[in-house]
């Protein structure tokens, strides 16, 4: 058992996490040069394009130390985006140590610090690694000083590495063995394992990626899931090499996968406890949280005849993505579609892109929103994840919205900017703590609705890219919220309704109607766009009618030229959605997002 080490890597984007991982795999001969694709761990296209890791992966290495002892090292990879903080924390909980990689030419980034905090919360041993020491503008000593300030370590505990050049890799492996504690846990107790990820395999069902905390799980064992009480029989289990390698059992401390004819990926929830034996004898592993979407949005087929295709595509994505929630809904404006719940805006964009790119579907996406808790005059409490479903004003006693506890780490020179931004977003200031002389951690309580769109981007730009953001749901807080309706030629368009704070409603109404006027093409008649709060119209814009659209001369006998012109015009209409009498382009339904970016 003490010959096992489980570790993770904490690094900022581009600081060399993937390259270092590749070197470790190479040095331990987990994969040879021939198998070597650059940056093996980030394998999805979208991940590579966006420079982030979305799905978690793990890999097992055999390592023989300088003194000849044999060790098994499990590297558990983590995603690197604020939308996925919970998943990161569960992956870290499966490890006893982490490599903290800092780019010698960049120094420590704020996001690294917040992930470091997550690691420290999970009591991980931290091995500081300064990477890219070969770069001409590397500031190795400066970076080491930052690390010493941050971690209170000795200079000689910091490893100097160039993953690209293969310098210092052995020292990293030696440090993993010597610094990372072996897994603790009771091999004789009933088995407990933590799920840190799962994937869906069309032949084998949901495959759980686990870390065994106590006991042992064998092929043929009956296992149960703590949160759902469902039981399954293990048909296969094994280790992660480049492929999945079946074994007979997974022992205390080991990392591997379990196949047990689990039909639904929602049964293998990240953070849940897999156990054997009786439930009453089992203490669930700490930290499990039911996945709760942060944002909701409608996804509709651009053309209603593609509804079934869209359903099939979402179902397929859902197979591999337990955090995607969806249910059918209808909109007066958009017809039949789905209300989907996402972990965050990035998650939403990924789903959107996969639907269009991988499934070749034209979709209309409505403006994302958070979930509101509404107390009705009758005393009933309902949850509203679609503004169109908000009860009428007179039926509402009050509305609550989700708030988050946010931690923003920023260089101290930008504190003023951060405060200004959070104030604009209705943030409630809590505390400021200095991490080191140049860096502060600010704590705020913020409405989730104010940070889901572009808060992170704005935060980055107001701090020249240096600040980080982490947040945790703090619960529902009563707010003075109103529903802004958009009327087009006097008919409310449900898909454009939006819930926001009363103080912001007037300005938003103006911006939104102005944006819609830009986006809606001229029609055969005047189009009046109005924003309304209840029955009160707060602003109005008009799209003048189309008055001239004619080919006066039919190009001699060149009928084909004329026909092609009209066919192109018809083609252009495909991006328009007929809402009542008015043709509205797909992008108009996301006009709110564009306003925020302006």
């Amino acid at each position: 058992m003490y010959r096992l080490r489980n570790f993770s890597i904490i690094a900022h984007i581009d600081h060399g996490k993937s390259t270092l991982a590749d070197r470790l795999l190479e040095t331990t001969q987990t994969l040879n040069q021939r198998d070597m694709h650059a940056q093996v761990l980030d394998s999805m296209d979208l991940e590579q394009e966006r420079g982030i890791t979305i799905k978690l992966h793990a890999i097992r290495m055999n390592y023989r130390t300088a003194d000849g002892s044999k060790y098994v090292l499990n590297l558990i990879d983590t995603p690197g985006h604020v939308d996925f903080t919970y998943e990161v924390s569960r992956s870290l909980a499966c490890c006893e140590g982490a490599l903290l990689i800092i780019d010698a030419s960049q120094g420590i980034e704020a996001q690294t610090i917040s992930n470091l905090y997550l690691a420290l919360e999970n009591d991980l041993a931290i091995i500081p690694v300064v990477n890219k020491i070969d770069l001409p503008h590397a500031d190795v000593e400066g970076t080491c000083e930052q690390i010493i300030d941050l971690l209170g370590v000795e200079r000689d505990e910091i490893l100097l590495v160039s993953a690209k050049e293969g310098i210092g890799i052995d020292a990293v492996l030696e440090a993993i063995v010597s610094k990372v504690p072996p897994p603790s846990g009771n091999p004789d107790a009933p088995a407990r394992a933590m799920i840190f990820d799962s994937v869906f395999d069309s032949y084998r069902g949901a495959v759980a990626y686990v870390r065994i905390v106590d006991g042992e799980i064998r092929k043929g064992d009956h296992i149960a899931l703590y949160s759902s009480n469902k039981t399954f029989e293990v048909s296969e289990l094994g280790h992660f090499r480049l492929k999945k390698i079946p074994t007979d059992s997974l022992k205390t401390g080991e990392v591997g996968y379990i196949v047990a004819s689990i039909k639904n990926i929602s049964d293998t929830r990240v953070g849940d406890t897999i156990f054997t034996g009786k439930k009453r004898d089992i203490e669930p592993l700490p930290g499990f949280r039911d996945i709760k979407p942060m944002v909701y949005a409608g996804i509709y087929p651009a053309s209603s005849e593609n509804y079934e295709e869209l359903r099939a595509a979402i179902e397929k994505l859902k197979l591999n993505d337990a955090s995607l929630l969806y249910e059918p809904e209808t909109s007066e404006a958009l017809g039949f579609g789905f209300r989907c719940g996402f972990l965050g805006l990035l998650h939403m964009e990924i789903i959107q892109e996969r639907l269009t790119r991988e499934h070749n579907l034209a979709i209309v996406n409505t403006v994302p929103n958070v979930e509101y808790r509404v107390t009705k005059s009758s005393g009933d409490i309902i949850y509203v994840d679609n503004p169109a479903r908000l009860p009428a004003q007179q039926e509402i006693e009050f509305i609550e919205e989700p708030f988050v506890d946010a931690q923003i780490i920023t260089p101290s020179e930008f504190i003023g900017n951060v405060m200004k931004l959070t104030q604009e977003r209705r943030g409630i200031y809590q505390t400021t703590e200095y991490i080191d002389p140049k860096r502060a951690s600010l704590k705020y309580r913020l409405p989730l609705a104010e940070i889901i769109f572009d808060f992170y981007d704005k935060l980055k730009s107001t701090t020249r890219g240096y600040a980080s953001l982490d947040y945790d749901i703090a619960g529902f807080v009563r707010s003075d919220l109103v529903k802004l309706d958009i009327l087009i030629n006097d008919d409310p368009v449900d898909a454009l309704s939006y819930i926001l704070h009363r103080a912001k409603a007037a300005q938003w109404g103006r911006k939104l109607t102005a944006k819609l006027r830009e986006l809606i093409p001229r029609q055969m008649f005047e189009v009046v766009i109005q924003a309304a709060l209840g029955s009160r119209i707060i602003c109005r814009e008009t799209v003048r009618p189309l008055r001239k659209n004619v080919t006066a001369k039919c190009y001699g006998g060149d009928i084909t030229r004329k026909r092609k012109l009209l066919e192109r015009q018809k083609e252009g209409k495909k991006r328009l959605k007929q809402v009542g009498n008015v043709e509205i382009p797909q992008e108009a339904f996301l006009a709110v997002l564009q306003i925020e970016k302006d």
């Binding site: 055969m524 008649f525 189309l546 008055r547 001239k548 659209n549 004619v550 080919t551 006066a552 001369k553 039919c554 190009y555 001699g556 006998g557 060149d558 009928i559 084909t560 004329k562 026909r563 012109l565 009209l566 066919e567 015009q569 018809k570 209409k573 009498n581």
Partner: protein, 376 residues
């Protein structure tokens, strides 16, 4: 069934600012062109799809056909007549430029067989003519019309509206003066900005600007009113005639009749093919001398395309789309296929329909691209 011939004469002394039809201003190649055109005509005479068919209409367009001498026209006509029998009342039209017309030339053309002239007046306002970069002025346009009238020959006048700086008043003045000069046919075309024209450059660079859509629409609708009151019936988006003087050649285009195009850039249609000649004089000459033809694009008209063409063309006509003929040809009930759209346009006064026809109203015609693109 008979057919039509279009002959493209690709020469102009100067190029008008708005025109994107194929033409060249180097007149040196005229003779070679005429020789080549005769070769192309001869070669087509052997096309067995046309053998024995009567010729209903002939149209000399351009470019500027009136740069051709009456002798040139005569020899071409002889060649055509040798190959194809003429119908009893073959309409033989020719576009003419006011500047080129003399009494003797006109008589020569008449003697060569031309029985309908289409005079490119465009405007009777000199500042507007300058913007269009026409060679003639208002006076020469009037004298050309008087010349045609004194010879008692059938003629049409071409006009353009929506010219930069043009007002509704100045447009209606031009139109009223033209009506007074008593042509039997008037075409009025809304100025269209075509890619690559000098006018487009002037507009893009801000030197000139087009009148607002509302103004141009007012020009169109008030012109229809004025023409109707003066006894001209509208029969197509841009065409008006006294009873019986509709241009049969253009009607052939709009009603799906076959036609043969001769000369560079000309278009032809013999079902199920549409094709187009090359838009290059040298290439045209070389190719015709090599093989008797100079085709650059051929399109096979599938049933689907035929349906779209049908909708697009018949909705240009005031007589409209004949529902039972449409159903016979395509097996589709047009009304039920498009009921929602038709009702919407109907409610906005853009079209009318009953159990026999769908027709665009004048207001509908001016947004016909939008309407038709929703119906094809």
């Amino acid at each position: 069934m008979g057919f039509s011939i279009y002959i493209h004469i690709p020469f102009c002394k100067t190029k008008c600012s708005y025109c994107d039809f194929f033409s060249i201003t180097n007149l040196d190649k005229q003779q070679t062109f005429i020789d080549t055109l005769e070769k192309e005509t001869d070669a087509c005479a052997n096309d067995d799809r046309l053998t024995g068919k009567t010729l209903n209409t002939i149209f000399f367009g351009g470019g500027t056909p009136s740069l051709m001498t009456p002798d040139d026209i005569y020899s071409l006509m002889k060649l055509i007549i040798r190959s194809f029998p003429l119908a009893s009342h073959t309409e033989i039209s020719m576009e003419i430029n006011p500047d080129d017309l003399t009494n003797s030339k006109l008589n020569g053309y008449i003697a060569a067989g031309i029985n309908r002239f289409s005079l490119g007046v465009q405007s009777l306002d000199n500042s507007e003519l300058r913007i269009l970069q026409r060679r003639h002025n208002a006076d020469s346009a009037r004298s050309a019309i008087n010349l045609l009238r004194s010879n008692d020959v059938n003629f049409s006048v071409d006009l353009i509206y929506g010219i930069p700086n043009q007002s509704v008043d100045s447009w209606l003045q031009t139109l009223a003066s033209v009506i007074e000069l008593a042509p039997r046919h008037i075409s009025m075309y809304c100025l269209t900005l075509e890619d690559g024209t000098r006018l487009q450059q002037s507009i893009n660079s801000g030197v000139l600007s087009l009148p607002d859509d509302e103004i141009v629409r007012a020009m169109y609708l008030s012109a229809i009113e004025m023409l109707t009151e003066s006894g001209f019936a509208q029969y197509e988006i841009s065409n008006f005639a006294r009873n019986g003087f509709e241009c049969r050649h253009n009607m052939a285009y709009w009603t799906g009749k076959p036609y043969l195009g001769l000369g560079p850039s000309s278009a032809s249609y013999i079902h199920p093919f549409r094709w187009k000649n090359v838009s290059d004089i040298d290439c045209y000459i070389t190719e015709v001398n090599k093989s008797g033809k100079a085709v650059s694009e051929i399109d096979e008209i599938t049933p689907d395309t035929a349906l779209r063409e049908y909708v697009m063309l018949f909705l240009r006509l005031t007589s409209g789309l004949d529902l039972s003929e449409f159903e016979n040809r395509f097996g589709i009930d047009f009304i039920s296929a498009h009921r929602e759209i038709l009702e919407r346009y109907y409610s906005h006064g853009l079209l009318s329909y009953d159990s026999d026809f769908v027709r665009l109203t004048p207001e509908g015609m001016f947004v016909s691209n939008e309407i038709i693109s929703n119906l094809i």
